[in-house]
């Protein structure tokens, strides 16, 4: 793994965003709109706060953290799509760049996107609703890290599928992550799911993060068990998906798809 090749890709994307206002806007626009709309709904529902204490904190905290996962996934997948759109994949993979370095660059880029989005949503939540996400305390750090890794996992999965099946499945870049939302238990506790779906949700690292977040808010106790589950599952999924991505990359070279994707 060579750092200069990873920074080459980071520089390429920095130049892209530097010159493209719509791309910058796209990063912050949807999280901001989401926050405003759902924030006001939350304010409205606050009248029922006696039935559900900490409702605002639950909801806005979940909204901000979900965006962390979503943007981490987008950071990986959209970076790959940018290379397809600019017909640049041949230039990249005919160079010494390895698939691992490519993924490392897109993952680093996704962290940058998450930082930008988080700043916007955290500031907006404070400005509009006086909501301070830091009430979650230090537990916020492992929560965010786990959501970023989960976002990378979905990003690698989506990228591998687009590489293999071409631009016909490009819509997955925006849609696949939402398949995971119901079983991530972002806005409701896992216990509301049917028992069979709870079993599936248990295998989702994000569900443990959101369960943990609610536990911190409700009890103030750090949910070590939830965090251990999230870290363990993320480690397994990330390792498996990176290995799978390399297999897909090899399969695409075998089928000649790498030079045809985007045509």
């Amino acid at each position: 793994m060579k750092l200069h090749r990873i920074t080459a890709l980071l520089y390429r994307h920095m130049c892209l965003y530097k010159r493209s206002f719509p791309r910058v806007l796209e990063i912050i626009y949807w999280p901001f709109v989401d926050l405003v709309i759902w924030g006001f709904i939350t304010l409205y529902l606050q009248q029922f706060k006696e039935a559900l204490p900490n409702f605002v904190v639950f909801f806005l905290g979940a909204l901000i953290l979900w965006d962390v996962l979503f943007r981490a996934q987008q950071g990986v997948t959209i970076s790959f799509l940018e290379e397809i759109w600019s017909r640049n994949l041949m230039n990249l993979f005919a160079s010494p760049l390895t698939p691992g370095e490519f993924l490392a660059a897109t993952m680093t880029l996704s962290v940058g996107k998450v930082l930008v989005v988080s700043c916007v949503t955290v500031l907006a939540a404070f400005a509009f609703y006086s909501f301070n996400v830091f009430v979650l305390g230090l537990s916020l750090i492992p929560f965010v890290l786990n959501l970023i890794i989960m976002g990378w996992c979905i990003g690698v999965l989506t990228t591998g599928l687009i590489m293999r099946y071409g631009q016909e499945v490009e819509v997955l870049a925006w849609g696949l992550v939402f398949l995971f939302q119901p079983i991530s238990c972002v806005f409701y506790p896992m216990s509301v799911l049917p028992v069979w779906l709870q079993a599936i949700a248990q295998m989702n690292p994000a569900a443990h993060v959101f369960e943990g977040m609610r536990a911190v808010i409700a009890t103030g106790v750090f949910p070590t068990a939830e965090l251990v589950w999230a870290v363990g599952l993320n480690a397994v999924y990330l390792a498996a998906l990176i290995a799978w991505f390399h297999l897909m990359f090899a399969a695409c070279k075998e089928k000649g798809l790498l030079v045809r994707v985007g045509e």
Binding site: R5, L9, L16, R19, N88, N91, F93, P96, G256, V259
Partner: protein, 249 residues
């Protein structure tokens, strides 16, 4: 005779039931310019893609600098570059930014001065700060060639490099390739549909037809074997001959 830098051994690529490249073997020696000729769909581009590690051969082997490509990909590709009229570069970046990215990908030192050199060589000063999407097709081709020369490769694969260049720039590009070959021992695999260019540039020519080598040798020797005085006539003869056998002068 100098050592072979590129060795292609019985290279075959099948996509399902279609055979794009069928048992092709050749060598390119250090400092040699090998022309790859053939009609559309003959297997030229697939061959180059396999040499660049972008497509995995069904069978056969590619060696460069004495090393097998499949096991020494990074080491080999660091000394190789390519230019193709069919490959673009990021449109939102300026010419200079695109060259920076390439230089960093290949781990080059003294990037700024190297970019200055190649911009001057390719006469790109007037559009070096221009965004790539605003380039004309000729300027775009020059950027592709600049990207290929920038990394000071030892082996260069050029797929129709002068296709959209005006005669002046095309001539300067050919001269530049020959000059780098003379001074740095550059090894080149060259494809073109311009027969005069092919004759002027290539030390040797390989003619591919339906994935197979059907003629091989110097342009003069190939013309002599086929009883023609013009390489274009040989091209038409071989391309239209469905049962072309191998001719090696």
């Amino acid at each position: 005779m100098s050592e072979p830098i590129v060795q292609v051994l019985n290279l075959t690529k099948r996509f399902g039931s279609f055979t794009a490249v069928d048992g092709v073997s050749f060598e390119i020696r250090k400092g040699e310019i090998l022309g790859l000729l053939g009609p559309n769909g003959a297997g030229k581009t697939t061959t180059i893609q396999m040499l660049l590690g972008l497509v995995t051969p069904t069978s056969g082997e590619v060696k460069m600098f004495g090393l097998p490509l499949d096991r020494h990909r990074e080491e080999i590709l660091g000394k190789v570059n390519f230019s193709s009229t069919y490959v673009s570069m990021p449109q939102a970046l300026t010419v200079e930014e695109n060259l920076w990215v390439v230089a960093r990908l290949y781990g080059m030192d003294r990037i700024a001065s190297r970019i200055d050199d190649v911009v001057k060589q390719m006469e790109m000063e007037e559009f070096r700060t221009k965004v790539t999407r605003k380039l004309s097709s000729g300027q775009m081709t020059r950027l592709g060639l600049a990207k290929a020369f920038l990394t000071e490769p030892q082996v260069l694969f050029l797929d129709e490099p002068t296709a959209s260049l005006d005669p002046d720039i095309a001539d300067k590009t050919r001269s530049l390739i020959k000059e780098i070959r003379r001074t740095a021992g550059l090894t080149v695999l060259y494809t073109s549909h311009n027969m005069r260019e092919m004759e002027a540039m290539s030390d040797r020519i390989i003619f591919l037809q339906r994935g197979r080598i059907v003629a091989e040798g110097t342009a003069e020797a190939i013309k002599a074997v086929h009883g023609e005085t013009d390489l274009e006539e040989v091209f038409l003869k071989l391309a239209r001959d469905q049962s072309a056998g191998v001719s090696r002068p």
